[in-house]
Amino acid sequence: MADTASAPARPTLDTVAVAAGDPDREQPWAELGLKGDEYDRIREILGRRPTASELAMYSVMWSEHCSYKSSKVHLKQFGELPQETPVGPMLAGIGENAGVIDIGQGYAVTFKVESHNHPSYVEPYQGAATGVGGIVRDILAMGARPVAVVDPLRFGPLEEDDTHRVLPGIVAGVGGYGNCLGLPNIGGEAVFDATYLGNPLVNAGCIGVLKHEDLHLAKASGVGNQVILYGARTGGDGIGGVSVLASETFDADGPAKRPSVQVGDPFMEKLLIECTLELFQAGVVAGIQDLGGAGLSCATSELASAGDGGMRCELDRVPLRDSTLSPEEILMSESQERMMAVVEPGDVDAFMAICAKWDVEAVVIGEVTDTGRLEITWHGETVVDVPPRTVAHDGPVYQRPYARPEWQDALQADAAEALPRPGTGEELRATLLQLVASPNLCDKSWITDQYDRYVQGNTVLAQPADSGMVRVDEETNLGVSIATDCNGRFAKLDPYAGAQLALAEAYRNVATGGATPLAVSDCLNFGSPEDPGVMWQFAEACRGLKDACAELGVPVTGGNVSLYNQTGETAILPTPVVAVLGVIEDVRRRTPSVFQVSGDVVVQLGSTHEELSGSEWAHVVHGHLGGRPPAVNLANEHNLARALQDLVGTITSAHDLSDGGLAQALAEAAMVSGIGAIVGLKDLAQDPFVCLFAESTARAIVTVPADKLDDLMSVAARHAVPATVIGTTGGDALVVEGQFEVPLEELRTAWTSTLPAALGE
């Protein structure tokens, strides 16, 4: 598309020599998102003004998105957690592309969740698609075969026009890209709240599996080793995407930044995956890095600073889609589906042959040196000559001011426990039907049916189960499980507790499937760090998550931060999405999440308290958000998880109690299975409304054959988990004794109609 005839004349190439001889040239540091003191610091590091290419590199690498400059001081504490899971030491941790944990039998797993929020608002399909693409390459760069994806999503109110603009595109993008890669989508969330209008959250997670010996780390070692760029050609897409998009707040009248969003080619990525795995298999990769945010600037500086000290690259050798691109644009381009490998000279031919087999273009663009410098040339002239660490790791660190917002006390004082409640059986019945049909609790098939959950043939659990689970080894039936959760309303009421509740729910969801929770990754979505109130939410959430991980004995293996999710003065609900990864030795023994047969005894594990603030009931029925979130009790969560593991094989199903409380859990277990239940609430020590709709933590419902009830009770007692028999499965209705009865068909109609009615069949 380049029309060279009409292109404006290029300014003279800004080389290191030119920069040295022209120290006072005005440079567009502010337009590139740098602050004045940051620009001064670059001049200080280099002892001269940066060249245009150097300025481009520093500006993208020192952006909020790449440098974590506002969040770093708070994220540091995750590194203080013991670097081991309940089954052993971590194989790679924070700072790598993704953390790697041992799952036994010689296998390791890597997993991570990343945000692609701002691009998805601008261009829903491509933003979401490239979000999936980026996280998959992160996992691939660790030497792992990607085996599944998850997609925690947040949208504005379902009835809003802009939700109708972004949601279908985002869902189609997640599906279009993931489906085309052949990765089953095994979990995620779709949550609706007014604060996400104009700030949808697209978090994409991926799990990869590898053998211990296949672990690859991002470093450029071995002087003389060749640096190979392979995959898609570099184009003008996504230039400045990172610094311009991810680090700025949208104005109320919306962005006009369409060209900054990257465009994905999942077919190219599929070839890149298979090609890269074959390269690993052949043993021809000494170091590897994916190209994501900040493109070549990031890959060259990170590889060089993690290696032996230096790297020299000839930028003019980079294959281009658009021959008019300048060196600084090539350095900033975020064209997708690219990887960079460090290869021993003797392996280059074998490397190239494998790339050719997969029709993947590969070019040697440089080599590892011992100069301690990252030197980049453009047709023989040096345009970059910097210490790589100063680009990749020595970016600015901000101690942003933070303060508990003035309104926090008033918010917490406005408890939902004081709101008018349904009293009669008829009112409870109507409340149940209203809640199951509400956007956050309704059937999400409209979304999940657009995702391939079966490809690879190893999916053991996927929607609508509490957690996703895939088989890792067909011989031994070893498997892994993942759940992602966050209730942003709880986090708004109390960010410290909210982050802990997110962890508790994901941890519990992994346990209900029969897996052992091992490790945590997070995706921390917040508003502007320049608002002290938002910064306080962020600091509190980090502190809460760290304390909870310490208590549960699970490490944080890595994470991602997305700030500036706000429109004008309105920040999103603080949304620290927590992913918990678990392992299960035999996937054939997983616990299903819905009723299996009629005649089983239904038992509630855990106890219910009068906890209604931040609940779905308060949100849906009263449009209310206030009070304090449910109490966190991690000892109880831990005990419940241990009990659920010991009950594998005894119980026939287990379902977590969270959003919508016991009522929603019973409804889902019945609607999905087509098996009803008759339950009584009198032994739960609360009034019927609280029993049904409170969102107390550390609870699950399980079903058990009558002849195994004693076994269940003794396991529960051993772990100090309260167990209350509440009913029996069977029939074609959900019956709450003495209160109401709803035919499953009526429930199902209410549950399944919401999204199709709003979004079209």
Partner: protein, 222 residues
């Protein structure tokens, strides 16, 4: 029997098809799109996926892969060939099967457990089923709408070339609810749903798809 499974660039369900072939009691042989060599197999499966990214038109580029020359040659000589989803599209583009597949009428990708009726159990891929048998197997496609001109449609209906039909709901707008068809000779079958994902209790929609892979044996002994 030795059953070849072709991998094109962008094939996704090739490993799954190989697994289903093995569970069906056969030896799975990996075939590569760039090799004009069937490695002595007795039957071929063209698996699902997005070969060549589905760019231009689903199956339109794969049709020209070197391996397809041999597949077409063998199919015309009577070798059993099964095309699943993208494989079905490739078989139509290769003119081994009548009709064509177009974008789903609702214009969204759809993944669901789909009820089908087996309409023709006289092919080497469906002989393990009874005629009229109802099975539930995985369906997932973006461009699964089967279309043909009126004359072709009448002919394939009249000749019993419809192999399977959607029941309960039509997931993609296929004419006459057609989920799968065979050629006049009956050795080449194209199916939009994915029987290879329904061969294990644990990981799919049950085991109703296994018959497509056990049929080969039963045919051999018939």
């Amino acid at each position: 029997m030795k059953v070849g499974v072709v991998t094109f660039p962008g094939s996704l369900d090739d490993v799954d098809a190989q697994r289903a072939v093995r569970i069906g009691g056969h030896e799975a042989v990996a075939l590569w799109h760039g090799d004009a060599d069937l490695k002595g197999v007795d039957a071929v499966v063209l698996p699902g996926g997005f070969s060549y990214g589905d760019y231009l038109r689903c199956g339109a580029i794969s049709r020209f892969a070197p391996v397809m020359e041999k597949v077409v040659e063998a199919a015309k000589a009577g070798m059993p060939v099964l095309g699943i989803c993208n494989g079905f599209q490739i078989l139509c583009e290769s003119h081994l099967l009548p009709g064509a597949l177009i974008r789903n009428d609702h214009r969204k990708f759809v993944c669901r457990d789909q009820l089908l009726r087996i309409e023709n159990n006289r092919t080497p891929w469906t002989s393990a089923y009874t005629e009229g048998q109802e099975i539930r197997i995985v369906l997932k496609n973006g461009e699964g709408g089967f279309v043909a001109d009126a004359a072709t449609l009448e002919r394939i209906e009249g000749e019993g070339q419809v192999v399977a039909r959607y029941l309960e709901m039509n997931p993609n707008g296929s004419l006459n609810d057609i989920a799968g068809v065979t050629n006049e000779r009956g050795n080449v079958v194209g199916l939009m749903p994915h029987p290879e994902h329904s061969v294990e209790e644990l990981t799919g929609s049950g085991t109703d798809g296994l018959g497509f892979f056990t049929s080969l044996v039963e045919k051999a002994f018939a």
